[in-house]
Symmetry: C2
Subunit: 113 residues, 2 copies
Amino acid sequence: LTKYRNKLQIVAEILEIVRDGARKTHIMYKCNLSYKLLKQYLKDVLRAELVYEDKDGNRYTITRKGEVFLSKFENYVERSEKVNRQVDKVNIERALLEGMVSGSRSLHSSESL
Amino acid sequence: LTKYRNKLQIVAEILEIVRDGARKTHIMYKCNLSYKLLKQYLKDVLRAELVYEDKDGNRYTITRKGEVFLSKFENYVERSEKVNRQVDKVNIERALLEGMVSGSRSLHSSESL
C-alpha cells in the first residue's frame, strides 16, 4: 500500500465512520476530504449500495454489503502487506545471488540467509 | 520469472552442467549460448569462483561455492514463483473490491472468495 490514500482506502474509511451512522459533515471532517470529493464518494458508495441514507438525506449508515466490503478489504490489506514483505525478501535473495556472481563483498552477508 | 533467461538463470544452468565437470563445447551446446557469450559467462563464473578449470583450461567443474549458489538459486526460484502466485491472488482480491465499489457485475464472483 502506498503512502497516499487510494480510492479503496477512502471508501473503507467512510464505511468505518458510518458503521453506526454519521452525518455528512462528520464524515468530511473524519476523512479529511474536500466537500466536492466527499459528495463524489458518497454518490459512489450509495450507488454501489455500500451505504444508505435516511429519508432527509442527512445521515448515512453502512449496509450489509458495506460490511462485507469492509471485511474483504481488511483481509486484502493484511494479505497485501504480507505479500509485499515476501516480495522484499525475494528481491534481497536475488541481490545476494547477483552479488555471488559478480564476486562482490555482498557475498559475505549472503552466508546468513 | 520471465520467459527469456536472465543472467542468474544462465549461470545456474552452467553450474548444473559442470556438476560432474564438462568441456567448453559441451556447455555451449547444452546452454544454447553463442561462443562469445559462453566465454563471457565462463570468465564471470571463474572470477566469482563458482567454477574452476583444470590445468589445460579445457574442463570446468563446479566449486563448493558454486554448489552453495545453486542451492540458494533453487530456493530463490521456488519462493519467487510462490510469491508471484500470491501477488496474482492479491491483485484479484483488489479487482473484486474495486468491482464492489463501482457496483459492477463482478460483485457476484467476489462472493466465492
